[in-house]
Symmetry: D2
Subunit: 222 residues, 4 copies
């Protein structure tokens, strides 16, 4: 396996819910095997166990709540997420923003149980701030481009290069992913050319007519 990372966020897309999540994870597994590129999938909380127990692929949680064991009804407790089979987690996705204190607490909670961590950010300044918290990855995604079909690597390459520069200045061990509008092989190649170590993507693949073909196109230029 290479050191590149692709994380496919299933959000609450109906195509990626329940058995659909399992099917997409299987396609990811096949394309990862054929291409030698690491692909992880981030299903909904209720699907983490279902996917991880049926497909041998890195599974990420879409979020977590920085709560411990106890009286926290309706919260996403890190021990439960890990027990369900997740090996990593997104933190602070633009559709699930956390306070700064809770991003820090979520990172601590995730590290304690050995989950990989990806903190999502929206611009260069917040990427720098996130890097100061020492996650494994920062994933910069300009919110206005999410789901737009316009790849950030084309629409706003400066947010990617600026984030990489700012992150590296603060903690050179933090990898930078980029997201928003990424769906094709040329988008991924452009992201890597800009210095990103991978991408976070969603609708372009999850809603594709043929998921496997879309994934094959995605990794075709590396």
């Amino acid at each position: 396996m290479s050191s590149k990372l692709i994380v496919l966020n299933l959000k609450t897309y109906i195509e990626g819910t329940g058995q659909g999540a399992v099917g997409i994870a299987r396609s990811c597994r096949e394309v990862a095997d054929d291409s030698g590129i690491d692909i992880a999938v981030a299903p909904q909380f209720c699907d983490i166990y279902r996917v991880s127990s049926q497909v041998d692929l890195p599974v990420y949680s879409q979020s977590l709540d920085p709560v411990g064991a106890g009286s926290f009804t309706g919260h996403a407790f890190v021990e439960c997420i890990r027990d369900a089979g997740a090996v990593g987690t997104l933190i602070n996705h633009s559709e699930c923003r956390l306070t700064l204190a809770n991003i820090d607490a979520s990172l601590n909670a995730a590290r304690k149980v050995g989950l990989n961590t990806i903190v999502c950010t929206n611009n260069v300044a917040t990427s720098a701030a996130a890097a100061a918290l020492a996650p494994d990855y920062v994933a910069v995604e300009p919110p206005e481009l999410i789901g737009s079909g316009i790849p950030v690597s084309k629409a706003d390459p400066e947010v990617v290069t600026g984030s990489i520069e700012a992150v590296k200045r603060i903690d050179h061990e933090v990898g930078v992913l980029c997201g928003a509008g990424i769906s094709k092989g040329e988008d991924l190649a452009a992201a890597l050319d800009l210095g990103a170590v991978g991408v976070l993507l969603a609708s372009g693949i999850v809603k594709a007519k043929d998921t496997k073909a879309a994934l094959e196109d995605l990794v075709s230029r590396i």
Copy 2:
């Protein structure tokens, strides 16, 4: 089966996480069979599939987010909850409060996919308000008694009888559960005597040394 309802909320208790949730659900199944009393269990999101696929017991979600299919990373989508095997859901638990608009939207979302609905409230006035939204049940729980070990049926019986009266005046088809501090057979009996059709409980059972014995005591007075 009787028409009484016991819902055991596993919150994020470590004893009720992962395989622990499955074990508690099995104890509930056995005690339900022996006693003829309906017992449902509300595990964490990540455990819904795991419990429902291993134990034949009504499984409730601890919460849901009133979002549809789409770009809602980290949210609890009702279709996913139902697909994972839940037959009902708590809404607006005191540890997971929703806006009034979102309680209404959550009820609509749950009804659309056929989930039973329990709206949690904190006093007589909010019980009346919740009844106006026509859930299957209103569960009144004074927050200061939750986890206290002091049963609401003893500490504040008026909040139970007042809620029942207020709820029935608005919609007589809505059942009233009560919660907070309930753990023993006498507490459940007292709740039913006050007119409740069941109880919502948590720590008293989940953290008991012997879950099955605690459940057996719980149903022993009915």
Copy 3:
């Protein structure tokens, strides 16, 4: 003065900020005097004192937080709002939603210091729920029509008549206002014809080229 009520919400419009709020309040005062119709203004927190100390008009707060005296940095404490000169408050506006428990607690806090209360709702069901909490008024505003320029009285009269019916069934002392898209005399007249006792409005007046003329048109059909 009549028993009709018009509440002009200044939101964070630049035209209704600072001295602008004072100017709009003066226009409201003049039109109220000329027409005999009660007009209240709801400026931003920071402008309540400024408006109330310069113009003799009922001033409402746009929201409040149900906190007491103490360690609540950044919160809108009801004693401070009242001390600044407000005589009433909006609660749960669609742009500032509260949990059900906090709507109830806000009502209690407001009543304790003698503020009039208007709970905003988004449909018939939430209007019924709000009525169960016994505010002075429920103001129903379908969110999709707010700021649209399409008056709710024309676009969705059933949400107004349905809310009035539902509210009256639960507590006939609660008055119903309607909002969203209201700006002209014919809109207000239509709202009153549907059974509302007044309106909650904003952009149509605040952003009018000539505020006073817009207000004069508003009350011209009553």
Copy 4:
């Protein structure tokens, strides 16, 4: 005036509400004049205009919402805060936490209208993250010490020195304040000895029997 900064947060203390806020501000003015130390006061939103128009002292807002002019009922709009007479603002106080994206947006909004900015943080890691956003000051306050009467400078000096070191490594132009439990002259002196440029304090002064005497004691050791 020295370059030291003392910011007195009035929270929602009843002693610091309405005319009480004006009185405390007057005491601050007198002690600032006598001692040559900069003292600013942060009253509730509704009191900003009242204080700033009656006392010639730097007034800070306790928070702000990163919204623009428009449809944002109940929000604290920066133009309104500035117009009311504030010259600075707290951002992300532990009692009013913001998302990382909103801290960044609040800073941009405040800078645009010329407000001084103090971002509150809870530990060394979040202080570093805040520094990456380039506020004028970072104020580190371990939440468990707030209102405790135990000064952070004594209970946890490492959080102060660690924050200063982390902040300076990222942006040496950002000043570090410390807070939590500070009320006496020795606490302020200890904070300055640790390298802080000032303090953020609240209950120890606001709830003192004699505010002016408490303030005089506070500045007596510098």
